[in-house]
Symmetry: C2
Subunit: 512 residues, 2 copies
Amino acid sequence: MNLVTRYAIRAGSYHDSVVLMQLQRALAGLPGVMDAGVVMATPVNRELLSAGGLEVGDAGPDDLLISIKGESEAAAAEALSRVDALLKVRGVESMGEFRPRSLASALKQLPEARWVSISIPGRYTAAVAEEALDAGRNVFLYSDNVPIDREVALKRKAREKGLLVMGPDCGTAMLGGVGFGFANRVRRGDIGLVGASGTGLQAIMSHIHTLGAGISQAIGTGGRDLSAEVGGMTAMQGLDLLRRDPETRVIVLVAKPPAPEVASRLLAFARSVGKPVVVHFLGAPLPGRRLGNLCFAASLSEAAELAVESGDSPETGDPIEGHVRGLFSGGTLAYEAMHGLSAFLSPKEYTIVDLGADEFTVGRLHPMIDQDLRIRKLRQETGGIVLLDVVLGEGSHADPAGELAPVIEHIKAEVLVIVIGTDEDPQGLAVQIETLAKAGARVFRTVNEAVEWIFLHRKSAEEDLLPVPLEAAQGPVINIGLDLFHADLQVDWRPPAGGNEKLAGILARMKG
Amino acid sequence: MNLVTRYAIRAGSYHDSVVLMQLQRALAGLPGVMDAGVVMATPVNRELLSAGGLEVGDAGPDDLLISIKGESEAAAAEALSRVDALLKVRGVESMGEFRPRSLASALKQLPEARWVSISIPGRYTAAVAEEALDAGRNVFLYSDNVPIDREVALKRKAREKGLLVMGPDCGTAMLGGVGFGFANRVRRGDIGLVGASGTGLQAIMSHIHTLGAGISQAIGTGGRDLSAEVGGMTAMQGLDLLRRDPETRVIVLVAKPPAPEVASRLLAFARSVGKPVVVHFLGAPLPGRRLGNLCFAASLSEAAELAVESGDSPETGDPIEGHVRGLFSGGTLAYEAMHGLSAFLSPKEYTIVDLGADEFTVGRLHPMIDQDLRIRKLRQETGGIVLLDVVLGEGSHADPAGELAPVIEHIKAEVLVIVIGTDEDPQGLAVQIETLAKAGARVFRTVNEAVEWIFLHRKSAEEDLLPVPLEAAQGPVINIGLDLFHADLQVDWRPPAGGNEKLAGILARMKG
């Protein structure tokens, strides 16, 4: 069979993606049509259609390309001739019911709406979202391609008003049992989620459901919320909301790795929520398996499992203020402590020194043998928390605790000592521990335990935000954009001047 | 009391670190001496002595600085006058027994020695280590400051001879119950370790002992072994040795994060050892909790716990060759799959495409609604493994499996599909799974399970190395350097020409 290819190009203006998909399906279903492509002619799309044997002509990235592969010249030409008629079909269909054409008229029609869900093209999004916030409504922003400075401005405005902006580029959310965007149907339950990752949230929620448990709320933040620029504004509001939400017993926090300073602020805040928090930063190192009320998952499915199994949180202790300084003889122990502390402390709050590093050992024995350097540094400490390691065993100092104890006794800091060794080591494990404890040190057997003790003894972290009322987790949704998504009221949104930017500019100037 | 400070400077040459430590202790113990510092006058050491109120003069980093704080002029002067006498003490003491002065004479005295342990200053180390390898002995290198090209050369030579070089900068090891360097006394047992981290190995071994289990062998590699330059030569030999060692039931692999290409080779090799392997790369992201016979720990103590609890390894399946290509609709799912595969595949072996990324969605609906792009790409697949996700729920495609099935049926690749959804989702979870399975796809409910299936179906990884005989895990040790460390025979090593580099050069030329 001799296949015939034909194409048409329409100079770009606004095209609803659903309409384009429907056009493509309609064309592909016509008699004698083997394949049809309806795409914006970006390089990626051109390449893909070419690979499938479709013609792409010289269409540019702003052009709509309609390409047909037919069994005959006549079939291909007939298909192309039907394009305009097919493009009109949806417009006619949506005339069947009355739909408001703007957010303002939608709000008049459904004044009790608490949420506005927006899935129109990115460049139109911020203005509509701002209009919604100004009207006192929370915003779910499915759209991407919103500039980050607009995101920051929207979220600042929301925070000042006690409103939520979930997104931009937020794929899913669930509040009061109502799903936003792409939403799996899940059992209601006592697990609340905050997520900067759409299908990540979906995977965890589905897995929780499969395990027999359920969801209280799932708050999406959009993928950039935990960047340094945005600073986790929505995530902090979300944690705060779930902290107060009586339906939420345990919280899951999932995201691609946040900016480091945002991550440590987020975990310091999560420490203060008084509920267990399962943390999964995808592809980021874990600071351990558990830190107080936080536990860390290594995968999406494990995050779900840990949330379902989660029990009570350990009690926090009286907070100890001041700097945390580690003076280590073991390089790996120093590294593990630094790694653990960096999860919840800012770089200004701690210093870890590895006294076995090259710079300290020129012409000097390893600090596991010769503690002179460490003792000199220890004498300079004046407060906060001092973290030491003592490594027993053959080859090491014969009595490290005995040498450290008199210094520890006189130091004006909380001293934590990690003792690594066995009950067969020549220094005598029990005696070493007892000597240190008598000198006033707190003794731990693993780095994790010491880091966790510090975690539990930092003062509560508060964020400067106006609480989002719990009622936000309920209430009707006005949907602007894709009518595949949940809507109590659908707005039949069109871009200004039908997407013609030049005309829109003239109209805007005329209004002004 | 008026304290008096005095100091002396000795132009640098070789000083045994133990002698310096003993000198400092002896000086500090003299009557009327309040504090004494004996250090190479590096900037760090100068700063530290100054902070303690000791004088540092204009001593440079190659100079030996002896600084005294005394109760009186006389006491300080008296202390300084004793320096030369004190420096001679250790020399006299060691005259009491006969000690060989060179490796060659030590080997004559103890020809059955299998190991040479070296803890002399770094610049002298490589030559002695090479001499040991040429004599057919394994080497434990405690010393640091060995140039990396020398390390590579030593390890290549060792690999060709079926010998081990543990180090340089190797803090600990244990073979056949004998500890090298700093070594905790631990119960013998069935857990073998390979570690590129000294106190990391010590912490894990001690914790294993505390948990009631024991150690078969612990092989140190030195901190740079897993760098791209060295390529994990010792670690691979170590894994291979423990694979064959009948005393080893489970293996622990601990290191700071390796170079990525070394990490994936190492884990691919670890997959093939036929024993459970607990992996802990400190501060590195985990690819999940478990991949076949590998499980991943988030801390040193957890590595010990997982090793003690470790059960049987799952069976591997028939290997499937070829490229692994992921065509994902969910960005986070794509990210998790990529992260998991990167743990054991090289970048050439897999490609993960997130079809929801901006470049693919210009004027196009999200691939969770519109699968056209994915189907076009899928038709181009010709072999290997294809990995897909199907995300159900409200807002998503009404029947994604039904649309994919006819394409999957005709594709000449192994197709794995991760289905995310619940039994309440509108598409019907059971029907979606059944449709995919009938089309020949393997269906998984989490990303992890799919990644693990791929892990279990890769062909065995082999390394080009001459096996180190199991007898290496036994045998007398000749110790060159610090006599704090284990020795069956101690060498009374001195640097050529007493450490005077100029003189050593002249002597070398005269020999030549």
